[in-house]
Symmetry: C2
DNA sequence: ATGACTTATTCTCCATCTGAGTTTATGTCA
DNA sequence: TGACATAAACTCAGATGGAGAATAAGTCAT
């Protein structure tokens, strides 16, 4: 029975956006994601994480969702000995906070997530760094047709479109090609934290498409362009202005406050607020099956 | 430090489909989902689960994905005492197997998941049981406008459409209304296993829309109607025949084997096989952002 | 005050997709 | 042989989505 006892910790991918830059909370001079033991005093995982994060950031966490449970981190340590050793289980969470005032000890810092994944920011066009990176990946792929296709597909080569959702898959390819520790290909982190961060970004980029989580990061009132910039910051991609607007108001999730913003540099913009959703959101799904009435 | 030691177990929602009925593997005469300790000998969570499941079912698990980690099960036990007590962490997995030959001990059985959630099967129209159930839910909602809207939305009342994805949310509403133990509202399970099952069904119903997992449950060759029936079994909803076909071959995931099936009762149907995907699947996504070229 | 420049907001257009059937083909079975 | 079943292909109108033009309403340098 004691075989199954494990050391359980919580680990957080905490996201905030300032100056159109998506940031993640880090400790150890940007080398690690914040984490802590899962104490018996915590009623649930969720509440444990929430309490702990709020004491660190000084701000309520608007949105919190479980990401993934990682348990194969320490396998290198186990190998060979065969000794019964305490298992390490990390339960990852994704949290969104509106502002980033840091209070806690250990000098937590908010850093742009593009420091860790510089190839993921396509807002000003395809990053230059991608040239060198994809060259290295293609070298690695060599004649291996499947590998080559994967590189093309994941990095938008050979006429394929860039798909911003595939953050984790891209990182894993880079890892497989053993390029993840190369200088110039993004800042590194301790242990597998960079992978966990990639998992969080992936989840968030997918989620904003079918669930109104962006508003957890927006201030109470905002212009449509603010909202677009926020979405672009997260997705790492530019969006089509008028089509973005059309989509937003079809979804019926925002309403005018009646006031205007004058800090636009051009024509003043209407201010909007989030309208906490008709009913439970959803139904804005996306993928559908071809239903049949009857 | 020892505060954070926890007992870790794996728990599986194992799904197979036979006779157009989606089935889940259970133990204890259908009262529990199969689970086991996460042993140190297991290299990773995934491999631990896989080995253990295959020894139980005698069949390889085609598809396996982590569902959720549950840790707030035993809170009732902790309450009041404040004593340091071993935490119980369950890591849930969803697995798909093509056939269901059971070998293991403890008399595992495959049971239709609709035994546990009879209101979820709308293939032959709205189940009668929903009349009584929604009546009880509306009673519970009373004048509470928000509750009433939630009931309407989740159970497709008042002109709203039935959304088959909301399995977990429906179960949680029923739980909140304290109707989950009432006779007639589905077979019960030990502890929170019914909730875990609901989580699995929810995940699977969502997934089939944007990822070709159905094929993990199909035999090597099949007709288009077979594929449709499989999808309907999982979604619990009837689909539009020709539109389903159109969608399937737009996705380019299957190809004709060249042979025909004669067991249709009508005109013989072409047989198809799964074509393990152009590249990594995806790009059949669904929800999209309004991208901008530039 | 005026014209250049910026950003906001509204429209338009057209190609594609989707929902909901029809129509025609090809078997089995009484 | 005709009734019945299912398969497979085709139709068509309305909704959706990508792309960009047109118009509105500010700021700012001259």
């Amino acid at each position: 029975m004691s075989e199954s006892l494990a050391y359980a910790e919580l680990i957080a991918v905490l996201v905030a956006v300032t100056d159109n830059e998506p940031r993640v909370m880090t400790i150890d001079a940007g080398e690690a994601l914040p984490s802590g033991p899962f104490e018996t005093s915590h009623r649930t995982l969720q509440s444990g994480l929430r309490a702990w994060v709020e004491s660190q950031t000084g701000h309520p966490v608007g949105y919190l969702e479980q990401l993934y449970t990682f348990a194969d981190r320490d396998r290198a340590l186990d190998a060979g000995t065969g000794a019964a050793q305490t298992r390490h289980i990390s339960i990852g969470y994704l949290g969104l906070v509106r502002e980033q005032v840091t209070l806690g000890a250990g000098r937590p810092e908010w850093r742009s997530w593009y420091e860790y994944f510089p190839w993921e920011d396509h807002r000003d066009g395809r990053p230059d760094l991608l040239t060198g990176l994809s060259e290295r990946l293609l070298d690695w792929a060599g004649d291996h047709e499947v590998r080559r296709q994967r590189v093309d597909f994941l990095f938008g080569l050979n006429g394929q479109l860039w798909n911003e959702d595939l953050v984790l898959q891209r990182y894993e390819l880079i890892y497989e090609a053993e390029l993840e520790k190369e200088a110039g290909f993004g800042r590194q982190m301790a242990s597998d934290h960079r992978r966990i961060l990639a998992t969080g970004i992936t989840r968030l980029r997918a989620k904003i498409k079918y669930y109104p989580v962006v508003f957890e990061l927006m201030p109470d009132s905002f212009t449509l362009l603010d909202l677009q910039r926020m979405t672009e910051a997260l997705a790492g991609v530019r969006l089509h202005k008028s089509n973005f607007r059309r989509q937003v108001d079809q979804q019926n999730l925002i309403e005018e406050t009646g006031e205007m913003s004058s800090e636009t540099g051009g024509r003043p913009a209407k201010l909007f607020r989030y309208r906490p959703a008709v009913v439970e959101a959803s139904s804005l799904s996306g993928a559908r099956l071809p239903y049949s009435r009857h």
